[in-house]
Symmetry: none
Subunit: 214 residues, 4 copies
DNA sequence: CCCTAAGCGAGACGGTACGTCCGGTCTTACT
DNA sequence: AGTAAGACCGGACGTACCGTCTCGCTTAGGG
């Protein structure tokens, strides 16, 4: 989670405090809630965590990387219970994702680090590894479940993420983010229903038309 | 475009320089290209524009509002020529939007101001007015054209933006933004084809299923 | 009083408002009382005087010159009534000068413009002409009066300011200024009595010892 | 000398750099010489000292306090060698003080901080402690020496500064300052001779007249 | 009675310094 | 070697003033 420069952490000297790690990440989330991304400062986080600024910089290279780590864990809460149909599964995951984006920590932090990452390749990689790629499992799981149910044709290598999975992921996540943050309108039941209908309908149409996925 | 507090600008005193307005916005775009959002500074922009810092602050309350105005004009370049089919029109607008997001000015700026707007209501309004709402005309135009062609059922009040228009807008814009900035993968021909197929298929499915949404 | 660049003020055009002149100087004194030298601003003075900043700069080149003019008039209030003896006259003028220096306008302004004048030759000349030289009449008058009384030998060209006059002037004014502003202790009766005794005694000693003045 | 808020400087953390202290004060004097009081800026001083602006503000609250500290040390150079007579001693100290006031650092700075101190009680205290009170030792020393020689009656408590000492101090310092800065005329041999004669004569007259002042 | 040159209020302008804040590094002494 | 404390450099912030300018308007006196 934190950025150990050397892979096999050196054997000698005082070991790093794991309590500090947790306190810092918690303090970061707290500061995000109270202050938002742009007014969050490293000094403030250190103060809240009862830790010296040095201790932050020993673990994270800069503010962006710290915030990515602090927020990433929240994305692991997403789950995909089997609700019996593809459409129900889609609605559920959209609502979960929307609820996550309504939390002030994520709302203020996510787009900020993404914006930052357009000029910071290491940060981009960290975001992919810590947040983006991990969520694709939800799409993969949902798709395979639908294939097992027969809602989608089962002609693809099952356990790997395909191009359509990527597309669905970008559409779902992108639509929710855009609705919530850019359009700044509520991601509520009716909207989610319409989005899910569009997606399931589109997937179904593609399936019947022959399957043009990579 | 810039923030004149006084609607009918006061008759007295030296009038504001419109040349300065233009020079500042141009300098802002230039600085965004060279430096990106987070390294762009008001002082630097003032320097490039050959203008005093105070002149910037007399017009814009902060960096975010300035950047919104500087970038907004780029979104007006989007057009929607009639390519003969709904799918072709969708592909075209997606590609245009993707090209816009590939420009370094917009890539670095758009998500940054959106992130900032989560804590800044006036900024949010400015983004909506200057960028978001203006682009919805493309969706409206495309939908009405498809209805005229008979590709979509014509059962809605034509000139107003409806709930499905909003949905389509969020899906297209959100998917492109997410693909380009979050997933950080190319918005290329195949991906656009798949997205367009999904959307057109979904809209068609909804139409045949007879869902008369508002 | 105010700085007309060309001596014979041009015949044509709208004449300068003499009311503005007075209002500005009064406003300057008022601002000096309330704010002191360093926090007095030209804009504030203009506002108090109900006048545009341009009108100030048309008359005075800068803040220092304005303040010199505003304060100079106060020094004209000093008088030298004949109290019957050199010592009484000296005590009286010292007390008057001390009272003048206790006024907040002069206290804060005098040393400030003097300090400024160490790097500003025109200002130095203006101070001399407007403030310093005018007060020497008091010394001259007092000395001539004492000579008429026979308290001092009458062997000098009467109406001109001599070297000893200059010395006495610097000693009196300097001692009072130093006591009031630098030592920051009260210029009260006992102190004035001691100073006057010292001066009159010194002058007397010089007179009896032969008169070694220029 | 510099403003440590904490009397016993805290044991923890990185200690303040004493080299920075010295460099800043030296840079301040240098800037005073080159620019004078009113054009000296904190940023410029920081630059000359090779130090960040924050380092200045960590030590001094404002420009005035910094300049007082920078200039105070110069006043410690004054000495009072025994020249054999009260009058010679007086002449010597006056010349020394005049030479000090001719230095551009002091000429421009002294009256400026005094002017500032009329509205700034802490600054006034600092000036008294750092500059004024320290110089009174010269008057005290000179007076006691004259008493030992028998030039002045020895009827006062020897080691303490009395009211006449204060008077003499204000007269000497004030006269020199006024001559040099306000009248803006040279403090040369003849003038110093006249001033010394006046003072010694006045003190003698007071002594013979039997004025046992406090 | 208009013409013209200057004064005037208002307020934007370029410039410069302010004093504060933060990022990220460093130097202490202690653990 | 990690840690808390806090000083350090660098640099941007947003504000305040300075002294200048550019407007449109006013106010005389001279033709």
């Amino acid at each position: 989670m934190c950025s150990r420069t050397n892979p096999r952490s050196s054997r000698t000297g005082r070991p790093r405090s794991t309590e500090a790690d947790a306190a810092i990440l918690e303090a970061t989330r707290e500061a995000l809630v109270e202050l938002g991304w742009s007014k969050l400062t490293m000094g403030d986080v250190a103060g809240r965590a009862g830790v010296a600024k040095t201790t932050l910089y020993r673990r994270w290279a800069n503010k962006s990387e710290l915030v990515v780590d602090a927020v990433a864990v929240l994305f692991d809460e997403l789950e995909l219970p089997d609700l019996g149909s593809l459409r129900a599964d889609v609605e559920h995951v959209v609502l979960q994702f929307a609820a996550l984006l309504e939390r002030p920590e994520t709302k203020t932090a996510l787009m900020a680090v993404v914006a930052e990452s357009t000029r910071d390749e290491p940060l981009r990689r960290r975001i992919r590894a810590s947040i983006v790629d991990r969520q694709k499992r939800l799409v993969l799981e949902g798709r395979m479940r639908a294939q097992r149910r027969g809602e989608l044709p089962a002609d693809r290598d099952l356990p790997a993420v395909g191009a359509t999975d990527d597309l669905i992921f970008d559409v779902i996540a992108g639509a929710v983010v855009h609705r919530a943050l850019v359009s700044a309108e509520p991601v509520d039941g009716p909207w989610v229903a319409r989005l899910s209908a569009l997606l399931v309908g589109g997937l179904g149409a593609a399936a019947t038309a022959g399957t043009p996925n990579a």
